[in-house]
């Protein structure tokens, strides 16, 4: 079974630039998550989708972050404009449903300079 795919693996941008991350979840998984993991910390949920609807985006900085999950499959996370403090690993995960274990992609390491 193919895992969660994310791209790119690494990205370096200057502050105030924009960036987008892509995620392809495990086939058939209804729930998709985006997490931010800052160095030395545990992952923090940014947004959770159930199919193509948003379940929880309470910790998403909506003035600069946006995410969508068209057709309930792939998802993109965008940051515009980026700040230095956005430097982190962005993890995408999926699960069969909201109450089952989540499977994670390898993440995208973002460095904002």
């Amino acid at each position: 079974e193919a895992g969660v795919a994310q791209s790119p693996r690494y990205k370096i941008i200057e502050k105030r630039q924009s960036v987008a991350f892509w995620c392809n979840p495990i086939s058939g998984h209804a729930t998709l998550y985006w997490y931010q993991q800052i160095l030395g910390q545990g992952p923090k949920l940014l947004i959770q989708f159930q199919n193509n609807g948003v379940v929880d985006d309470s910790q998403l900085p909506k003035d600069r972050f946006s995410a969508e999950r068209l057709k309930g499959v792939d998802s993109t996370l965008k940051i515009q404009p980026a700040k230095l403090e956005d430097s982190a690993v962005y993890l995408c995960a999926s699960s069969q449903d909201w109450n089952t274990e989540a499977f994670f992609g390898q993440g995208t390491r973002l460095t904002v300079v």
Binding site: Y35, Q48, A93
Partner: protein, 115 residues
């Protein structure tokens, strides 16, 4: 709101010795508890979960965890540590469904198994 604490940033254990990585939680309802492992430059890998049933849960790679409701703990254990177990371990909790399904992670414990 739910929370999870991993009181030890670092745990060192000799190869072949038993290991324990500690986790305590706080939820308003019944907890759904998970352990994940993260190797360098890799995503998180699911190890095991407790939803309901037996308090001792067995998972991948010989790991197990014991759910203790009175102590609100879910410690990760392995009878005999391997050098390859060295990694970063995260405990996570989800509150019984109330509409908020956030899977909340602890800050992680770095396990080092010494040959």
């Amino acid at each position: 709101a739910q929370s999870v604490a991993q009181p030890e940033d670092q745990v060192n254990v000799a190869e072949g010795n038993p290991l324990t990585v500690k986790c305590t939680y706080s939820v308003s309802g019944n907890p759904y508890l998970f352990w994940y492992v993260q190797y360098p430059n890799r995503g998180l890998q699911f190890l095991l979960k407790y939803i309901t049933g037996d308090n001792l849960v067995k998972g991948s790679y010989g790991f197990e965890a014991e759910f203790n409701k009175s102590q609100t703990s879910f410690h990760l254990k392995k009878p005999s540590a391997l050098v390859s177990d060295s990694a970063l371990y995260f405990c996570a909790v989800r509150d019984e469904p109330t509409g908020a399904n956030n899977l909340f992670f602890g800050t992680g414990t770095r396990l080092t198994v010494i040959p």
